[in-house]
């Protein structure tokens, strides 16, 4: 479980693929590596966001809705980044993320994350790309929904 393995994992994520290794190492070193058990929430809808997470191992379900009406909207896997929206725009978490099985994630603090985005425009572009992809997916889902009704 050395930091170099984490750096390897980070490098495979498109968001970070263009960063220098030393920056990735700093990112890994100053981030907490957390292990979640099955069913444990990484964060909950409505909480204030103080960090983004990168899944290193395992899968997580993204759930939105009220306490009695929960809906799974996506499952995310290894090397995806989650929770960055709340960090980027100071809004409460838009969804709850729950570990499907044992999950290992790197917790990147808001401060560090914003710093990285500011310093490396490449990372900002990657984030935009990711967000656009998600928007596109949501649009498609909406279209599917409206067809059904």
């Amino acid at each position: 479980m050395s930091i170099n393995e984490e750096v390897d994992a980070l490098r495979r994520i498109p968001l970070f693929s263009n960063l220098e290794p030393s920056k990735l190492k700093l990112l890994a070193f100053t981030s907490e590596r957390l292990t979640y058990a099955k069913g444990q929430a990484i964060f909950r809808q409505g909480d204030m966001g103080d960090a983004a997470y990168i899944v290193l191992e395992g899968q997580a379900d993204v759930v939105i809705g009220t306490a009695d009406n929960q809906r799974k909207v996506a499952t995310i896997g290894k090397h995806s980044i989650i929770g960055e929206i709340a960090v980027l725009c100071d809004v409460p978490r838009t969804a709850t993320v729950v570990a499907v099985d044992k999950l290992v994630a790197l917790k990147i603090s808001k401060d560090l994350f914003l710093r990285m985005v500011k310093e490396f425009p490449q990372m900002a572009v990657e984030i935009m790309r990711e967000l656009a992809r998600r928007l596109d997916r949501t649009n498609q889902q909406l279209a599917a929904l409206s067809k059904q009704s």
Binding site: I3, S22, K23, E32, T35, Q40
Partner: protein, 892 residues
């Protein structure tokens, strides 16, 4: 307090001053004869010389005592012996007088400081608004300091030193009037010139102090306005201004130097001129046979002693003016009008006094400086069986009314009666014990939570401390000197806690009461956590230490029975390397106590180095240190200095980073043995902080861990006797006094990387402690939590809650709350409100509310506006369209 310095001195030290004067007078004859003796000795030698010449020495008769003839040798030695005795007597007088006046001066200084401090306690509260503590504190601490020395000198110095000057002068005059005149010749010049120069120097010195003070102001201004300096490009002007001020100071200081050395030059030259006259005139007179040689030698010896007392006298007169003005200034500062009568602080309460009945205010007015009217004719009568709310806006007088009700402010006009007795002239022993008053800014002492809670019960010393015979004698001595100096005779080490007032029998019950009140104000959880984070002395709290060991065992069982919990803590195991502990902890396998094995000292500790050498670890650790340094340089060198990451994550501070950068380059590819001793030492400091699970640098592998375990064994086995006290080893069956309660319960390290690990373990520990019924005991330990200066280690809401609990400790008849919960969250606020409502269900609660809507649960509401009570009644009565109260509610 006398307004003049001499008044103060005479009032408190007249007897000692007289004793000193008598001592000085008695010493003069001895002094005179010690000048006379050298003359006898020299003249004797001269006579002997004559007798030796004509061979009649054998029959030379001399007498000291009539009828007891001595031969020439005996006579000489006898005279010398008397001279020696006289010198000793003179020295003895000097010594005794100096000690005596030194002691008196210190006693007077002590009295002065004490009186000034008592003055502060007697200042009426509004006076503190106009006072700056920055000016007041130095007055009591440093500015009065030189007064002690001067008070000792006040009367005796001119007399005694004057005597020391006059006695030799008289002696010289007696020997020969012309020589006397020569000795006196230059004094008029000195008396005229030197003080004038000195006066000029003093004036300059005063100006220098003022200029330096304004220089300090100027620097402060620059710092405060630095943005505007840059924004307006005025730095050149600022520099010119500063330079100008420095120039002024330079000029003043230069003038002072010139004058000072001129005075010195004059003094020295004149003092050297006198002997010139003596040799010249004296020699001539000896030739003429008008003065014998013995007298001349004695006169020259006596003349030497003139310079000392002369200098002392000059110093005295210079100091006198300074001290006199300073005293008057300081005392003037401590003499505000309407100083509180000292009886208000000192009088004991009448037996069984209670404040019951009605609170009746009639035409109560409170003004400040005649201009601002805070209260403007407040009239109301309310029974103390009710709970009363006061509402109003910021200028309504709502802030000041509670202060007046608690008699902390005395009304300018009008009367306040409680149960038929006038509140205003009651001593503080009644108001301060029967009335409780709390604001949102409760002041905390820098001691424990317990001391802060008990503070409201400490009015007088009630029980003498347990002392042995020697201790009692020492206490008597301390008390004697306190009384002699007009200080407080009370013993601070006595037990001051008034258990009766708290309504309890003793310390244990008081602790119970304290915990109950902390629960009432909603601080129970906080205290519990403070307890967990606190340390106890297992020797003094053996019961708790034992109970904690039980909790440790219970927790271990819980952890072992549930694998998901087991991952949260890595227990200490003598035979295993703890991945979640630092390398240092793994090596020591204990908690350092004191500095010897502290993290920073480890790499320089001789014993540790010796063990590392023996285990063959030194070079490997240096290599590891270099790797750590390399990584840190790689990771952090891109960050701006002072970035928070340095403090949070780096092993090397931003200041040291460039140095390590150079070190890493310098030692590239080098064997540790080839590095300089200094580099080796620097690198060795780094690896001790490594925590495998946290830092994940992969530097410590299994093989290395095994070697650390070897070193761990060596370290414990060979630890010398004198270092035993510097470490508490981890032992599953012993309480570790150097660790917190929580660490003792865990007996291991929280595992890194477990999501919500801390919270889950916290719950588990709480669960275990509750099962074992240990929560109250942990809370007791929490009472010893040190709150820091002014309560800085507490949050502001904790301070408020503690302030309220403190009020309740003394079971007050009347509790006055001045918006004390204003900044608490809603939940805490309603918990406290309900708690106080319950405590004062029989009445006696008066609460100035920051929001009118909170008044619902009170029996009566007083609505204030413009310094008057304009409406009163029950919430429902008042909450009707058209009332001011209704409008207030609507605005919220």
């Amino acid at each position: 307090m006398p307004k003049s310095l001499y008044g103060f001195i005479l009032r408190h030290s007249k007897r000692e001053q007289i004793v000193l004067l008598i001592l000085a007078a008695v010493s003069y004859p001895f002094l005179y004869y010690s000048y006379d003796l050298p003359k006898l000795i020299i003249n004797h030698l001269k006579d002997v010389a004559v007798h030796v010449k004509d061979g009649s020495l054998g029959s030379y008769p001399a007498h000291i005592v009539q009828g007891l003839p001595l031969n020439a040798h005996h006579y000489l030695f006898m005279l010398c012996a008397i001279f020696l005795v006289l010198t000793l007597i003179n020295g003895g007088f000097k010594f005794y007088i100096n000690v005596y006046k030194g002691r008196m001066g210190e006693r007077m200084l002590r009295r002065l400081r004490y009186e000034l401090y008592v003055r502060i306690l007697r200042f009426p509260l509004p006076h503190f608004k106009r006072m700056s503590s920055g000016e007041t504190i130095p007055m009591i601490t440093s500015e009065v300091e030189p007064m002690g020395g001067f008070i000792g000198d006040a009367f005796v110095q001119p007399i005694y030193q004057g005597g020391l000057l006059i006695v030799p002068l008289i002696f010289i005059l007696v020997q020969d009037p012309i020589l006397g005149a020569a000795a006196l010749a230059f004094y008029p010049v000195q008396i005229y010139v030197i003080p004038r120069i000195q006066k000029r120097v003093n004036q300059l010195a005063k100006r220098r102090v003022q200029t330096v003070r304004s220089l300090a102001d100027r620097i402060g201004e620059t710092i405060a306005g630095i943005q505007d300096v840059h924004a307006n490009d005025t730095s050149a002007r600022e520099r010119a201004d500063f330079s100008h001020r420095l120039g002024t100071i330079y000029k003043i200081r230069y003038d002072i130097y010139q004058l000072k050395f001129l005075a010195k030059f004059l003094n020295n030259s004149i003092n050297q001129l006198t002997p010139f006259l003596f040799y010249a005139i004296g020699g001539y007179l000896v030739f003429e046979g008008k003065v014998d040689i013995g007298a001349l030698v004695a006169v020259i010896a006596a003349q030497k002693d003139l310079a000392g007392p002369w200098k002392e006298l000059l110093d005295y007169y210079q100091q006198k003016e300074d001290i006199r003005i300073k005293y008057e200034q300081v005392v003037g500062q401590f003499q505000p009008p309407d100083l509180v009568d000292v009886k208000m602080l000192d009088d004991d309460p009448p037996e069984g006094v209670r404040l019951k009945g009605d609170y009746a205010l009639s035409s109560v007015t409170l003004t400040e400086g005649g201009a601002v009217k805070f209260l403007d004719g407040v009239n109301f009568t309310v029974p103390l069986t009710e709970k009363i709310a006061v509402v109003g806006d910021g200028t309504s007088g709502k802030d000041e009314l509670p202060l007046v009700l608690a008699r902390l402010l005395t009304p300018t006009a009008g009367s306040i009666m409680v149960g038929g007795q006038n509140l205003v002239p009651l001593p503080e022993s009644v108001t301060g014990r029967r009335i409780a008053y709390v604001t949102h800014a409760a002041h905390m002492l820098g001691t424990s939570v317990r001391d802060n809670l008990y503070y409201s019960l400490k009015h007088r010393p009630l029980r003498e401390p347990d002392l042995d015979e020697a201790g009692k004698r020492e206490r008597e001595r301390v008390k004697y000197w306190a009384i002699q100096s007009g200080n407080s005779p009370h013993d601070i080490l006595a037990d001051w806690i008034d258990y009766d007032a708290a309504g309890v029998a003793g310390p244990d019950e008081l602790e119970q009461k304290a915990l109950k009140l902390l629960d009432l104000v909603g601080m129970d959880d906080d205290i519990y956590h403070m307890g967990l984070r606190g340390r106890i002395d297992p020797a003094r709290r053996a019961d708790l230490a034992e109970a904690i060991l039980k909790a440790r065992a219970a927790l271990k069982e819980r952890l072992e029975s549930d694998p998901s919990l087991a991952a949260l803590v890595e227990p200490f195991d003598a035979a295993k390397y703890n991945e979640n502990a630092s390398l240092a902890e793994n090596l020591l396998f204990g908690t350092p106590t004191g500095g010897a094995f502290a993290d920073d000292a480890l790499a320089t500790n001789k014993y540790v180095l010796q063990i590392l050498d023996k285990a063959g670890l030194t070079n490997d650790l240096i290599v590891m240190g270099r790797k750590v340094a390399e990584t840190m340089v790689e990771l952090f060198s891109g960050l701006p200095p002072g970035h928070q990451f340095f403090e949070q994550f780096s092993f090397i501070s931003s200041d040291d980073l460039p140095e390590f950068q150079a070190l890493v380059t310098r030692t590239e590819g080098m064997q540790p043995a080839a590095m300089s001793a200094e580099d080796r030492a620097r690198l060795l400091t780094l690896p001790f902080k490594l925590i495998n699970a946290r830092h994940r640098l992969g530097l410590i592998d299994a093989a290395f861990e095994t070697r650390i375990l070897e070193a761990r064994k060596l370290f414990a086995a060979e630890l010398p006797e004198n270092l035993r006290g510097s470490i508490e080893f981890f032992d599953a069956n012993t309480y570790n006094a150097a660790s917190t309660l929580q660490d003792n319960i865990l007996f291991g390290k929280l595992a890194y990387g477990q999501a919500e690990g801390q919270a889950r373990i916290g719950e588990l520990v709480s669960d275990v402690l509750t099962t074992l019924d240990l929560r109250p005991k942990v809370m007791q330990a929490g009472l010893d939590f040190q709150v820091g200066v002014g309560g800085s280690r507490l949050s502001s809401s904790q301070r408020q809650k503690l302030g309220i609990a403190r009020c309740l400790m003394k079971n007050p008849d009347i509790m006055i709350v001045n918006q004390a919960t204003a900044s608490l969250d809603g939940q805490s606020q309603s918990r406290i409100l309900n708690g106080l409502m319950e405590t004062f269900r029989g009445g006696g609660l008066i609460w100035a509310l920051h929001r009118a809507s909170l008044a619902r649960s009170f029996d009566r509401v007083l609505v204030m506006q413009g310094g008057r009570v304009i409406e009163q009644g029950h919430y429902d009565e008042l909450d009707k369209p058209g009332t001011a109260f209704h409008a207030m509610l609507k605005d919220e």
